[in-house]
């Protein structure tokens, strides 16, 4: 390879990498923001009076933005809240059902239980079940996700490696439930 060609190749490659990084860094920033905001929300919402529970239009777009990567799963919001939130002075309490999220390996739906502004339980109502492998994957990922969510107190948790679709569907549905709860 001639020097000029090598120099041109290096310049072009570095430019391409820089562009890639520049495009990707908003994702880094937004993830960090989400994580930060989620933590702040979790701490403040307990103190704040229960926010409106009358916004049952839990849209998938908000949830998708919060999930790790822009989701391809198209969320179909269905009756988001099954249980009316019992507003207390300290925080939200009740069980809220998230939207059904369709992924290529099947539908996902979770419900979240809140007690006094704290996520105490996440129940998977529906997991990817297109085939036996999907079932295996989601059965493996669901407990991991639940633990992570309880720890983070939000839907902003890291992707479970090897179960990306499950993660996306799970967290999207969870975010819809949390939105419905006004969490």
């Amino acid at each position: 390879m001639r020097k000029r060609a090598a120099a041109a190749a290096a310049t072009a490659s570095l430019s391409v990498l820089a562009i890639g990084w520049a495009v990707g860094s908003p994702a880094v920033a937004s993830l960090q923001n989400t994580l930060g905001a989620a933590l702040t929300d979790a701490t403040t919402s307990a103190a704040a009076p229960a926010v409106v529970a009358s916004t049952p239009t839990a849209t998938a777009t908000a949830a998708a933005a919060a999930s790790t990567a822009a989701s391809t799963a198209t969320a179909t919001p269905t009756a988001p809240a099954t249980t009316a939130p019992a507003a207390t002075t300290t925080g939200i309490t009740g069980t809220f059902t998230g939207s059904v999220v369709a992924t290529r390996f099947g539908n996902m739906q979770v419900s979240v239980t809140l007690a006094d502004g704290t996520i105490t339980d996440v129940t998977a109502l529906q997991l990817t079940d297109k085939d036996s492998r999907s079932v295996q994957i989601s059965n493996r990922a669901a407990p991991v996700l639940k633990t992570e969510v309880l720890k983070a107190q939000s839907a902003a948790v890291a992707n479970v490696s090897g179960a990306t679709y499950t993660t996306q569907g799970y967290l999207t549905s969870l975010q819809a439930a949390l939105d419905a709860a006004g969490f």
């Binding site: 060609a5 190749a9 391409v16 990498l17 890639g20 990084w21 990707g24 990567a69 490696s161 090897g162």
Partner: protein, 467 residues
């Protein structure tokens, strides 16, 4: 005397053939594209927020695993393009250099793919958490399309291992070639897991289309230039054997006749990969160089019975249909950079030298032909060479004699002792393009001699065929 001459020669800039800058621009462009394609897949990973997902060591290992997989696969695709007989690649680098580059990429690509598998297994195992081999089993059974991906990895290892030079000589060419074809299978079976595991190439994303377009481009090139073009050309040319001439013991010239051969744009010094449609030979393909300048209706190759199939070629019946791939190679006048020319041949390497001598551009007195052999008797096509040299004003030298054992020179032992080198054999060597064709090791030694005489790479041309 020699000192003065050399000093003058050093300052005199040889006239660069107009093809050379154009060819180098094409070569530069192709090389830059190849390098940028690697950067681009990494950039795609970054743009998708690949770096954003790194928050734990396990994430970092997983991300690195993804990147090694992307780069390794990109290199595999570049390798396949290099072997796809793309006309642009052949014109820029020549078949020999392209295949050398293809070979040199084989191990790095395999290592990257292996790193991809190992790193991702570790990354996943840390999250699970599970042991390494437990995780392999989990991946194998629970992730979509992973059994196929493991199959691809196994095939890739098999292909690269059989391609390593040492192993290659233990196999018949056809067996090696068949194993090599498995690399296409290896690349194909790896596609599903790239699309279904992980989100980088998720449905509907821009990068998925880019990735698939890469594959489609490579597959299209292979199908077009390795299958469709040769088949169409063979059908149109309708080549048949019109004569087999005994040149020496075990050496024959095969004369072929066909039609519309001008459209092949074949040049003296190029080779084709031939297939002779007789009951015993149709399943083998052999690379042989043109030993005479091609005309609109005839081609000629000269072959020595080295391999098991080549030894049956002398009995090739007249009228045998011949199909071919080619013409390939940059061992032609197209690669010239200098006004003078030196043609050096050993053994059956004389074939492309003979055709080059017929049509290469040079004025009388500007060409030298060096024919190297152990004894004066085992030279081929000497009468033809002598006649051509007389007609075109070239100098012919036959250098016969055994090489001294233990020395690494392309010249006979007594010549080495007399301190004879390429520079002392050929006047005004630095104003010449040197074309070398012979056995691999011998060729390397001539190339070394030419380099030490101060010839730049662009003035040294050689085409080595392995079998």
């Amino acid at each position: 005397m020699s000192l003065d001459t050399r000093a003058r020669q050093h300052n005199a800039r040889p006239r660069i053939h107009p093809n050379y800058p154009r060819r180098m621009r094409l070569a530069d462009t192709l090389q830059i594209l190849a390098v940028v394609s690697v950067a681009l897949v990494v950039a795609v990973f970054l743009a998708d927020g690949g770096a954003a997902r790194i928050s734990t060591p396990a994430d970092a290992i997983t991300a690195l695993g993804i990147v090694t997989g992307l780069v390794g696969t990109d290199l595999l695709l570049v390798m396949m393009l290099l072997a796809a007989r793309l006309p642009a690649i052949d014109r820029a680098f020549g078949h020999d250099s392209a295949m050398a580059l293809h070979q040199s990429l084989g191990k790095p690509a395999l290592y990257l793919i292996l790193a991809h598998a190992v790193l991702l297994t570790i990354g996943y195992a840390l999250v699970q958490p599970a042991g390494f081999f437990d995780e392999v089993w989990i991946m194998f059974t629970s992730l979509p399309d992973m059994p196929l991906a493991f199959l691809g990895l196994g095939l890739l290892i098999a292909v690269v291992v059989t391609s390593l030079v040492i192993v290659r000589h233990k196999f018949r060419y056809e067996v090696w070639h068949l194993v090599h074809l498995l690399s296409y299978v290896a690349v194909l079976v790896a596609i599903p897991h790239q699309l279904s595991v992980g989100t980088l190439f998720r449905e509907g994303s821009l990068q998925r289309y880019y990735w698939l377009a890469l594959y489609a481009g490579v597959a299209g090139s292979i199908i077009l230039f390795r299958f469709i073009v040769p088949i169409v050309r063979s059908l149109r040319a309708r080549l048949t054997v019109v004569g087999v001439d005994q040149e020496a013991r075990g050496v024959v010239s095969i004369r072929l006749s066909g039609r519309q051969l001008r459209s092949l744009k074949a040049k003296s010094g190029q080779f084709f990969i031939w297939r002779f449609w007789t009951p015993g030979l149709w399943w083998q393909a052999h690379p042989f160089s043109l030993s005479a300048a091609p005309t609109h209706n005839s081609l000629r190759i000269t072959v020595r019975g080295l391999g098991d199939a080549s030894s049956t070629l002398p009995r090739l019946p007249v009228g045998t249909r011949v199909s071919f791939e080619g013409p390939y190679g940059l061992f032609t006048d197209f690669a010239r950079t200098s006004p003078r020319i030196v043609l050096i041949a050993a053994g059956i390497g004389v074939a492309p030298i003979r055709s080059l001598l017929e049509t290469a551009t040079f004025a009388p007195g500007q060409a030298t032909v060096l024919l190297r052999s152990s004894t004066v008797d085992d030279t081929y096509l000497v009468e033809e060479l002598a006649a051509l040299c007389r007609a075109r004003g070239a100098e012919l030298r036959i250098i016969a004699g055994k090489r001294a054992p233990g020395t690494s020179s392309w010249l006979p032992g007594d010549a080495v002792r007399a301190r004879i080198t390429l520079a002392t054999l050929v006047p005004k060597l630095r104003e010449a393009d040197v074309y070398i064709c012979g056995p691999r090791k011998w060729t390397d030694e001539v190339v070394r001699d030419a380099r030490s005489a101060g010839l730049p790479t662009r003035q040294i041309h050689f085409e080595r065929f392995d079998w």
